[in-house]
């Protein structure tokens, strides 16, 4: 073989399979083959299915042949070499999942050109297969990711609903006492009126009590509405207020389980932070509830507590929530923020609560969320970065 022919073969063989993207891979091969063999144009058509013959790459002059008739003829033939014009020849070459079509001026060495194609056929077919397999895999991964995202979205909804259910329970508990007071005040007023002993002093006293308690009830409704309604709006909040709201919402239900919520330290300076209103509350409630569930299982523990703190450091706002339930098993400590990981009974735990909290703090707010074991139990750290403009 002459040097020129050897050089052409060498360059062509090296141009195959340099990408796993079918279009890129075939374009590189076509460009090299066309240039090296002196073609006018070249195209590659792929058969992704039996009926579909699709152009993937094309270089050089366009639309100079009828693809439909060539496709039909290639069903029976492997190679078509014929004049399409007085000076131009068409060369169509069938490969396993498609065909290559080139146009040449008539004075070319077609024995050499077809012999190169013959020698490259196997390598071309293997690489087309590889590219198509990668395409299929990508599609499957995309489909699976899409399904997972949908499942995750549904689980987040479920989590929210379950948290709302708990909060409604808490609110009901919180409402009982003020409702009792209102009821007592109104019935007291009614009896005294019937007995004609209702003085102006009494009236003022009763109505004051009713107004104070109804105002308290209204406040709890506002808090609950904030949690549900505004959960997609970005607002500047005071972190202390969010922390207070979370503890207030949970305190009564925790007291039923004899769990004390203790404020360890809260920074006096108001700490402002911009975020979606419900997000931080959701994280706090998740961590508090996890602590509660761990404590509920500790039947022999006499004094159950959850301590929280809020501190400002040079670069962060740091919230800690610690319980005395004994801590997280070191073997699973690295997994607790993973999706679908739960230590709870299937009926109670989805494994999405801490995963969702991690997503909010780390991915949305660019902060940190981690857990350490102390001598008493688990201590969760939430760190929110200061001096950052968030785009949520």
């Amino acid at each position: 073989m002459s040097l020129t022919k050897l050089s052409v073969s060498y360059k062509c063989v090296n141009s195959i399979g340099n990408s796993l993207n079918l279009e890129e891979m075939m374009e590189e091969f076509l460009r090299t083959f066309i240039k090296e063999t002196g073609a006018i144009s070249g195209s590659f058509f792929v058969n992704r299915s039996l009926d579909l013959c699709e152009e993937v790459a094309s270089l050089g002059k366009k639309n100079l042949f009828n693809m439909e008739s060539i496709k039909k003829r290639l069903e029976d033939e492997t190679l078509i070499l014929e004049e399409v014009d007085t000076s131009i020849k068409l060369l169509a070459y069938k490969v396993k999942k498609g065909c290559l079509i080139f146009l040449y001026s008539c004075e070319n060495d077609f024995d050499f050109i077809t012999s190169i194609l013959e020698s490259l056929k196997n390598k071309i077919e293997i690489n087309i297969d590889s590219c198509l397999n990668v395409e299929n895999l990508k599609e499957q991964i995309e489909e699976a990711t899409k399904e997972n995202l949908e499942k995750e979205r549904q689980l987040f909804e479920q989590l929210k609903m379950s948290q709302m259910g708990e909060l409604i329970g808490n609110i009901a508990h919180q409402w009982r006492q003020p409702l009792n007071i209102i009821s007592t005040a109104t019935s007291g007023m009614q009896i005294k009126k019937e007995l004609d002993i209702l003085t102006d002093e009494d009236f003022k006293e009763y109505t004051k009590s009713i107004l104070e308690n109804s105002s308290y009830l209204s406040g709890t409704i506002d808090e609950f509405r904030d949690y549900i309604k505004d959960s997609n709006k970005e607002k500047e909040i005071i972190v202390q207020d969010r922390l207070k709201m979370a503890t207030e919402m949970l305190r009564s239900s925790f007291s039923l389980e004899s769990i004390n919520i203790i404020e360890e330290f809260v920074e006096e300076e108001k700490l402002h932070f911009k975020l979606v209103l419900g997000d931080l509350l959701q994280v706090l409630i998740t961590i508090f509830n996890n602590a509660k569930e761990a404590l509920v299982e500790k039947d022999d523990l006499e004094y159950k507590w959850i301590k929280y703190s809020l501190r400002k450091t040079d670069y962060t706002i740091k919230i800690t929530i610690e319980d005395n339930a004994g801590g997280v098993n070191e073997k699973i400590k690295d997994k607790i923020f993973n999706p679908y990981f739960t230590t709870k009974h299937q009926a109670r735990g989805t494994g999405i609560g801490l995963y969702s909290a991690y997503g909010i703090i780390v991915n949305k707010l660019d902060g940190k969320l981690y857990v350490k074991n102390t001598e008493f139990g688990a201590k969760f750290y939430i760190e929110l970065p200061l001096n950052v403009n968030y785009i949520i």
Binding site: L3, T32, L59, G60, K61, K62, L64, S87, E107
Partner: protein, 352 residues
């Protein structure tokens, strides 16, 4: 196209030229030619132009002056401001037989641009042209009524059929070598060795002496690289500078290309040009349009080239000879895929 070409030696002649606003004008000039676009605009004419290293008119090579091509109404001309982003989707390229194409010879985008353009031409169309430019840094070499541009192109589309010929005349000095590492115009490795060292060693062997790095620039023009093609011809690539182990070429070179280091005798080059000219003349050309590579001319020397031009002009059937000394040449008559050429002489013959 009726070929009407005028050569003007001075800017005063240009200002006083009998321009008509019924025509369009292609103005080719050199870096020494004084250009005042405001004055040209005041003449109320549509013009396009490019600056080349030198101009060819009749039997002379000019380092100064203006070659004015008068384009009548049936000629379509397209000025492409940015070769990198231009799309030919709605272009009229395919309606014309010949596309005289001037590109910015120093642009990184010219190979991709030519390939893109080629895809939109018709099956029989001929592309002939060359790269404008000078080796002055940051200079813009193409212009029109709106100002000067770089990375640009001018395409003159005509109905005439132009016969083209390309001359080389280079012989193999050393090779073959495989390009084992390259990127765009940068040649890094040949046969897994430093491209520069290998190239330098081949030249030193030919000269029979060690070559100082400082003397290398003047020697490179005599030793182009030839990319081996299937038709036993070469695509030439001019080394224009070097840096550590790399050679900078005047055109792209792809990985896995097989190349030879070439050399020529002056007589071989002149003979090759004469043979190309004869080939074009045999087809009845009356006007010759030349795109001669700047480094090929340096090798030949202006004297021997002028002698050749005088020979050319002696031929009675030829009415005019005009052209430019270019940086990169383009020649494609539709029989194969387009390539940007180096160190070549492209001759286009127009018969009418």
């Amino acid at each position: 196209m009726n070929v009407t070409v005028a050569f003007l030696e001075t800017s005063e002649q240009l200002e006083n030229f009998n321009f008509s606003n019924k025509n369009k004008y292609l103005i080719l000039c050199t870096q020494n030619s004084k250009l005042d676009l405001e004055k040209l605009n005041s003449l109320n004419i549509e013009y396009y132009g490019a600056i080349f290293p030198k101009l060819i008119f009749k039997n002379k090579i000019f380092e100064d002056g203006y070659l004015i091509c008068i384009l009548k109404n049936n000629v379509h001309i397209e000025f492409i401001e940015d070769m990198n982003t231009h799309e030919f989707d709605n272009s009229t390229l395919s309606n014309y037989n010949t596309l005289i194409t001037i590109i910015d010879g120093l642009s990184d985008y010219n190979t991709a641009f030519l390939e893109n353009m080629y895809e939109h031409t018709n099956i029989n169309s001929t592309i002939i042209g060359g790269g404008a430019g000078t080796f002055e840094e940051n200079k813009k070499h193409l212009f029109n009524n709106n100002g000067f541009y770089s990375n640009s192109s001018i395409i003159v589309m005509i109905d005439n059929i132009v016969d083209i010929g390309v001359s080389g005349g280079w012989q193999v000095l050393d090779g073959p070598f495989v390009v084992t590492s390259s990127k765009g115009k940068l040649l890094k490795e040949l046969d897994y060795k430093s491209a520069f060292e290998l190239y330098k060693a081949a030249i030193e062997k030919d000269l029979g002496k060690k070559v100082e790095v400082k003397d290398f620039y003047s020697l490179m023009k005599d030793y182009p690289l030839g990319i081996v093609k299937n038709d036993e011809k070469y695509i030439l690539r001019d080394p224009i500078s070097f840096q550590k182990d790399f050679l900078h070429l005047a055109g792209d070179i792809e990985n896995n290309s097989v190349i030879n280091i070439l050399k020529a005798k002056e007589s071989d080059l002149l003979e090759s040009t004469a043979s190309t000219r004869n080939q074009v003349l045999q087809k009845g050309a009356k006007h010759l349009m030349i795109f001669e590579c700047v480094s090929r001319l340096e090798y030949l020397t202006v004297n021997s080239y002028s002698k050749q031009l005088r020979e050319l002009n002696k031929c009675e059937s030829i009415k005019s000879v005009f052209g430019v000394i270019s940086i990169g040449e383009v020649a494609n008559s539709g029989e194969k895929y387009i390539d940007l050429l180096n160190k070549s002489c492209v001759i286009g013959g127009i018969c009418h």
